[in-house]
């Protein structure tokens, strides 16, 4: 009986943990959007206030939260900016909507004057904010469901085993 109870406890915590992980995955999408929004806000400020070129700006904004930026600087210098950007986004961003936004903004980055660039970045921030809102709603709606389902499924399995 003790073995059975230990097994059930283990199953309940494993299922509960899986539910929490799934819910955290939803939360990480919100965090990723937040990081991108901050990145583009700083990007826009640097375009307006400094004379840096694109790569210098990206270098300034390099941080641990955005792995695709880190990867950007490891790509061969001889390819164009957009090819580098595209490669780093495709190989490091796995979320389809975010990937699509980053690829479309990357195509236009640096190709227009300051006004055009700030408008482009504002539009990108708007899209990311909208996406964040959707992720946030999903998290509020599904996060709890995943966590509860995980535990409940664990309990049910436990009862079946006992």
């Amino acid at each position: 009986m003790i073995f059975k109870l230990t097994g059930v406890l283990f199953i309940v915590s494993a299922c509960g943990f899986a539910g929490i992980l799934k819910s955290k995955e939803l939360y990480s999408r919100i965090r990723f959007c937040d990081n991108l929004i901050v990145f583009f806000q700083h990007f826009s400020a640097l375009i307006r206030c400094s004379s840096y070129n694109l790569e210098e700006i990206i270098h300034c904004l390099d941080n641990d939260n955005l792995s695709f930026i880190k990867y950007f600087f490891t790509i061969d210098e001889s390819v164009s900016f957009y090819d580098k950007w595209k490669k780093s986004v495709i190989e490091n961003v796995y979320l389809s909507e975010e990937k699509e936004i980053l690829l479309s903004v990357g195509k236009e980055l640096g190709t227009t004057d300051i006004e055009g660039q700030t408008k482009l970045i504002s539009y990108t921030i708007e899209r990311l904010t909208q996406l964040r809102k959707t992720h946030s709603e999903n998290y509020n709606r599904l996060g709890k469901v995943y966590r509860s389902t995980g535990f409940l499924f664990g309990f049910m399995l436990g009862i079946v085993i006992i």
């Binding site: 375009i47 004379s51 840096y52 070129n53 694109l54 790569e55 001889s78 164009s80 900016f81 980055l109 640096g110 190709t111 227009t112 004057d113 300051i114 055009g116 660039q117």
Partner: protein
């Protein structure tokens, strides 16, 4: 400047498919320009010859089907590379259609410019890489005959006015405080604050400002003994020069004017003569060769 170094600088900015061919192509001596013509070829210019790059890594005299063809996308690629992929931070250069890259190589753009204020190039027809060469010592004769005085260097197109001015900047700037007003960055070819040519150890460079604003700014802040500037063209320039001269600064300037007869008829020259600012006028005939030095103090 070594030919290899020139090529190395230009190769950085061109698409890979041209790079691999141009790497293997022996460049002609006295190369002055490489041009990329949209929907046409890549032309190499020397003092006497024009040649086109062929796919067999040769430069041929006649453009034919074996010659490398440049597309408008290639031109855009070059433009974006020269802009360091940041059009927004190169608006001034785009308005003027001219960039300066490493070693004083000037990149000129031709094509359709947008209308209205702040004209920017929209469609590129050709891109040229002009290789500047400094001729150290070419102005020594002029320097010896006119030193300590305000000087006007006159000549027609391609007579070497800018080359002479650059060398005078070096000669004066090695032992006096000089300010070089280099509106279009042609004289010093400054890149990242570093002049590509020897323009003197104590020469300050004002780049990107109009000549008259540059002259006024230099008097206010840099206290030069000599101000050097290229191509005096209008009365705003004359007024600024008058202000500078009134502050005791000597002026060395160039003016587009092929002969003394022509000089006497120009309204700007007349204005300058009235103010009695310049002591000498040097007239150039060909590639920096002095035709005559006129003592303007006698002719007043």
């Amino acid at each position: 400047m070594e030919l290899n170094k020139i090529a190395e600088n230009i190769l950085k900015y061109i698409p890979n498919r041209f790079r691999s061919i141009m790497c293997k192509t022996p460049l002609p001596e006295n190369l002055t320009e490489i041009r990329f013509y949209s929907n046409r070829g890549i032309a190499f210019f020397t003092d006497k010859l024009i040649g086109f790059l062929s796919d067999s890594c040769d430069i041929v005299k006649e453009f034919d089907s074996h010659c490398i063809k440049v597309t408008s996308d290639d031109c855009k690629f070059i433009l974006m590379s020269v802009c360091k992929n940041s059009v927004y931070s190169h608006q001034r250069e785009l308005n003027e259609g001219c960039f300066v890259i490493e070693n004083g190589i000037r990149v000129g753009l031709s094509g359709r410019f947008s209308e209205g204020q702040g004209q920017t190039i929209q469609e590129i027809s050709s891109i040229s890489f002009r290789i500047s060469r400094e001729k150290t010592g070419c102005a020594e004769q002029i320097y010896e005959s006119t030193k300590g005085n305000s000087l006007l260097i006159c000549g027609g197109v391609n007579t070497g006015k800018t080359t002479i001015l650059r060398d005078l900047s070096r000669l004066y700037g090695n032992h006096t405080k000089c300010t070089l007003i280099d509106e279009h960055n042609e004289i010093s070819a400054m890149n990242n604050g570093i002049p590509s040519f020897d323009i003197g150890l104590t020469t300050d460079i004002i780049n990107g400002k109009s000549r008259h604003n540059g002259i006024i700014a230099s008097i206010r802040t840099l206290s030069p003994e000599y101000i050097l500037c290229d191509e005096i063209a209008d009365s705003a320039d004359v007024n600024a020069i008058v202000s500078a001269s009134g502050s005791g600064v000597k002026i060395i300037a160039t003016m587009h004017c092929p002969s003394y007869q022509d000089f006497q008829q120009r309204p700007v020259a007349k204005q300058l003569m009235n103010y009695q600012i310049f002591s000498y006028a040097v007239f150039l005939k060909n590639m920096g060769q002095v035709d005559r030095i006129v003592d303007l103090r006698i002719h007043r």
